[in-house]
């Protein structure tokens, strides 16, 4: 009976570990998915920044405040994304499962916030560029 209880306990603990590992893997998957989306938006960001920089350089518009502000917003979003990328550590095998889950969950929050900031900056610059081109 004692042996059966120990075996059951071990099986219970192991299945728990398995669940935790799966949870960690799932969060990592979510993080990478958002990261891929941000990278895709980053291409549009770079294009928009190039167009804004050309507008600023050409200096043909009566006011360049908006172009300068939007360009700065794009640079800020790009920098924060770069920093996250360089700091992010996908390999969490040296940590306990609990710590690894906590790390991945925090990273997920961070990358989602970066996604929002970057998307907003791209959207705002898209609207501005459309307006300028239609004039």
């Amino acid at each position: 009976m004692k042996k059966t209880s120990i075996a059951l306990l071990a099986a219970f603990i192991l299945s728990g570990c398995g669940d935790k590992r799966a949870e960690q893997k799932a969060i990592l998957g979510d993080v990478l998915k958002v990261h891929e989306k941000v990278m895709s938006d980053d291409e549009q960001l770079t294009k928009n920044k190039m167009q804004l920089d050309t507008i600023i350089k050409e200096n043909k518009l009566p006011r360049l405040d908006s172009a300068k502000l939007l360009s700065a917003k794009l640079v800020a979003a790009d920098s924060i994304m770069d920093k996250w990328m360089h700091d992010f550590e996908p390999d969490q095998t040296k940590k306990s499962t609990g710590d690894a889950i906590a790390y991945m969950s925090a990273q997920k929050k961070q990358i989602m916030a970066i996604d929002s900031q970057l998307s907003a900056a791209v959207k705002e610059s898209n609207q501005y560029l459309l307006k300028v081109k239609s004039k």
């Binding site: 990478l32 990261h35 891929e36 990278m39 895709s40 938006d41 980053d42 291409e43 549009q44 770079t46 294009k47 920044k49 190039m50 770069d82 990328m85 360089h86 992010f88 996908p90």
Partner: protein, 217 residues
């Protein structure tokens, strides 16, 4: 009997040649094209001018300046990556190693991996990355240059076939494409670098291009 064997042999040889000529594969040429008229031996003939990869200048993992001139007479594969990429780049570069190992002694095949994170991917970082991958010599260059210029080169030149495909969603540069460029700097194919089957196809197409170039030049 002798004559009969001779006749059978001739028929077999003819059929074999016919089979080979019909089976000879030619890769498509992507990008814009326009007809140009030129005078050859006093007669006006119409030729086709194909889109080519424009001139570029970058720094490689050894700190050497690399331009399009260094690729003269080479077939090459280009891709876009960055060293701190946690998702698709490690898979891509692992697959690119197969291309590297297949053609590293060929002499007329090169690989160019352009970083899209030049702020972080310095020459030192690129060299460390190359060492980790186990690549040496001058067949595979990891290139660093201006981010804007790389995106421009990627979207307007290298990824022409991908952009033309309406089924592919936007954000083309970071989708793991391997682009095949011929000795005349024309784009001849784009392959998903994360898929081993597509990379195997790329290797076959490089062989086709090599054979094609050997016949035509």
């Amino acid at each position: 009997m002798r004559k009969l064997i001779g006749a059978i042999l001739i028929i077999l040889l003819w059929n074999a040649c016919k089979f080979n000529s019909a089976d000879k594969k030619t890769l498509p040429i992507y990008g814009e094209r326009r007809p140009v008229s030129k005078v050859v031996n006093g007669q006006t003939v119409v030729d086709t001018l194909y889109q080519t990869i424009p001139p570029f200048k970058y720094i490689n993992q050894y700190g050497d300046s690399i331009s399009d001139k260094n690729l003269a007479g080479k077939i090459y594969v280009a891709d876009f990556f960055f060293t701190s990429c946690p998702s698709i780049c490690p898979i891509m570069q692992r697959n690119m190693l197969t291309v590297y190992n297949t053609f590293k002694d060929a002499g007329d095949v090169s690989i160019l991996s352009y970083t899209i994170d030049p702020k972080y991917d310095s020459v030192k970082v690129l060299k460390k990355y190359a060492d980790k991958l186990g690549i040496n010599g001058n067949m595979w260059w990891l290139l660093q240059g201006k981010k804007d210029a790389t995106y421009e080169l990627a979207s307007k030149s290298y990824l022409v076939s991908v952009r033309a495909d309406n089924t592919v969603p936007g954000g083309y540069v970071h989708q793991g494409y391997f682009v095949l460029v011929d000795k005349q700097k024309r784009v001849r194919g784009a392959y998903d670098g994360t898929q081993p089957q597509q990379v195997a196809q790329l290797i076959e197409d490089i062989k086709t291009l090599k054979a094609d170039t050997a016949t035509n030049n």
